[in-house]
Symmetry: C2
Subunit: 335 residues, 2 copies
């Protein structure tokens, strides 16, 4: 954290494969002056998400990609340090698209940020994870699109990740069998012992397909899909008649630039309902979802873990943890 | 038609690729005697459908495949010639799974058939097409899963086929732009000039992708998918945000035995809702659908065409027309 300049990561080249620091210019600009109706926000934590990788690319995506030379887009939380807007008071903590930089401008229009309640029941990084966009992604994807019924089997991939770990716990709260797919014994132990999943499938072991079969003796009713590729196909091959598949991400393909292909025949034969989504599709219900998530966290029903990386300068390297499998829970950068 | 024996096609070997007559034993058995609660039905017309090909294979499918040595499964209409059941009267015309044979037994349980009304407003083969399972497939797939709104663009593949031709006409009735994909100038002319589609895309022409783009200037809101493969991918690449994709079939892959693969990324990025279905998923609404279809037919709003092949013995060869593109409208065999 510096106090006299605004350090920014500006996209220089689109990554091919792994993200490199050299894909960015790390520049120092002067701290911007907020205009009328604007506030200056000092960024405290950045959220690192698989979607960062998509935004760096020029693949077909939700929003226009980050332009070359633009500040890298990303979510975060910060504190208002100067305000010319009635919406923001000095000292307010705010959440929104901060970008990868020390300071950002919040306004009352397209660059508006959410003012967090004064009496937050959780630490600030949790507002980027279990009680933020990440938790809401799990909440709406599972409950609105997956529509799990008690006794059904819910499978989630990237299960030790920020979204997956919440999906499995909500499935348990709803009385389902929760099965998580994760890489390595630490993550598998974590989701079962710490988070209460019924079973874990370690995709780094050669027998992962047999593990998946053993963990889902009654087939799969909801597949919350985060990874794509051969894991997705193996899960789909075990999905039941009239099962549901919220498609949240296909992280295994983001670095390759290849089409994310898969077999459509189970969709036809098993009459699977598949829907792609992103969390903003449910924006009008955010308040309801956030309150429920916070309540579960406070009650101890929803556990969360954050992996905190220190220093803005480490963001481009740290984001690769999401793709390498080197991360448990929510990955954030502390500025 | 013979009167003294029951000719039957019994599956001998599962076809690899194209269906051959040699995949069947064409046997003559004695006409079965109906037991208590049963009726003897003389089959009048057989429905030939892409699903016949699936049933001959041992691929993952809706029902167990036809066993080796079993009578080939298939839908048809017939007339009751002898009855020991209060449900069926001699002379009743009935519809159901007749199998590929001259005579079948209808009972009051698992082999029950539907008794058609005396005063049918249409010819009997139409009860296998526009007013039968085919029409209902189009009706429920489009309206329940596609949920088209007036002004939206509906694309259907295999558009000159039995299901596709009905899909496009219902789309027009609902005030949508209807675009059909079909092979060759005759089919393309037929769906536009005879059936009232707004545009046709001839996939046998080298410029079919450009035709598709020109025919869907506002993108695609509903893709009623019948064929799979590269046509499906090209259509999906033009689907709008929050568009719907009823997956009715992927006929282009049925002969190959290969997984029916496609790119999942548009589903994610464009939040497409995709659902596989078969018509029996909507069984409890069949009466409603059939009445609406019949009304549209009688009012002249829903045009239909049947391709009638003469003679049971020709069924195994004729069914290939569905895969070769050699058929317009509903393909039936007259016994």
């Amino acid at each position: 954290m510096k106090n006299d300049v605004n350090r920014q990561f500006r996209l220089k080249t689109r990554p091919t494969g792994r993200i490199e620091k050299s894909n960015f210019d790390f520049v120092e600009e002067s701290i911007p002056e907020p205009g009328p109706g604007e506030a200056l926000v000092r960024v405290l934590y950045l959220s690192l998400d698989p979607t960062n990788r998509i935004r760096m690319s020029d693949m077909d995506q939700y929003m226009p990609p980050v332009g070359i030379g633009e500040v890298m887009r990303g979510g975060g939380v910060g504190i208002v340090v100067k305000s010319n807007s009635a919406r923001y008071k000095e000292g307010d903590r705010v959440s929104g698209l901060t970008g990868w930089q020390d300071f950002c401008i919040a306004d009352e229009g397209l660059r508006a940020m959410s003012v967090l309640p004064k009496d937050l029941p959780v630490e600030l990084p949790v507002m980027l994870g279990a009680c933020g966009m990440t938790g809401l992604t799990a909440y709406f994807g599972l409950l609105e699109l997956g529509r799990p019924k008690a006794g059904e089997t819910v499978v989630v991939s990237a299960a030790a990740g920020a979204v997956g770990s919440i999906v499995g716990q909500i499935a348990k709260i709803k009385g389902c069998r929760a099965v998580g797919i994760a890489g390595g014994p630490d993550k598998c132990r974590h989701i079962v012992e710490d988070l209460g999943f019924d079973a874990a499938v370690d995709y780094k072991r050669a027998d992962w397909r047999e593990q998946l079969a053993a963990a889902t003796p009654d087939g799969i009713d909801v597949n919350f899909e985060n990874v794509g590729g051969e894991i997705m196909e193996a899960v789909m091959a075990r999905m039941n008649l009239f099962s549901r598949m919220p498609l949240c991400g296909m992280i295994s393909g983001y670095n390759t630039g290849e089409p994310m292909r898969g077999d459509f025949s189970p969709i036809l034969m098993r009459r699977i309902e598949l829907r792609g989504f992103i969390v903003i599709d449910f924006m009008e219900k955010f308040a309801e979802g956030a309150m429920q998530l916070a309540q579960w966290v406070v009650e101890g029903k929803l556990k969360h873990r954050e992996t905190i990386v220190d220093g803005l300068e480490n963001a481009p390297v740290a984001v690769n943890k999401l793709f390498d499998g080197g991360n448990i829970g929510k990955l954030v950068v502390k500025l």
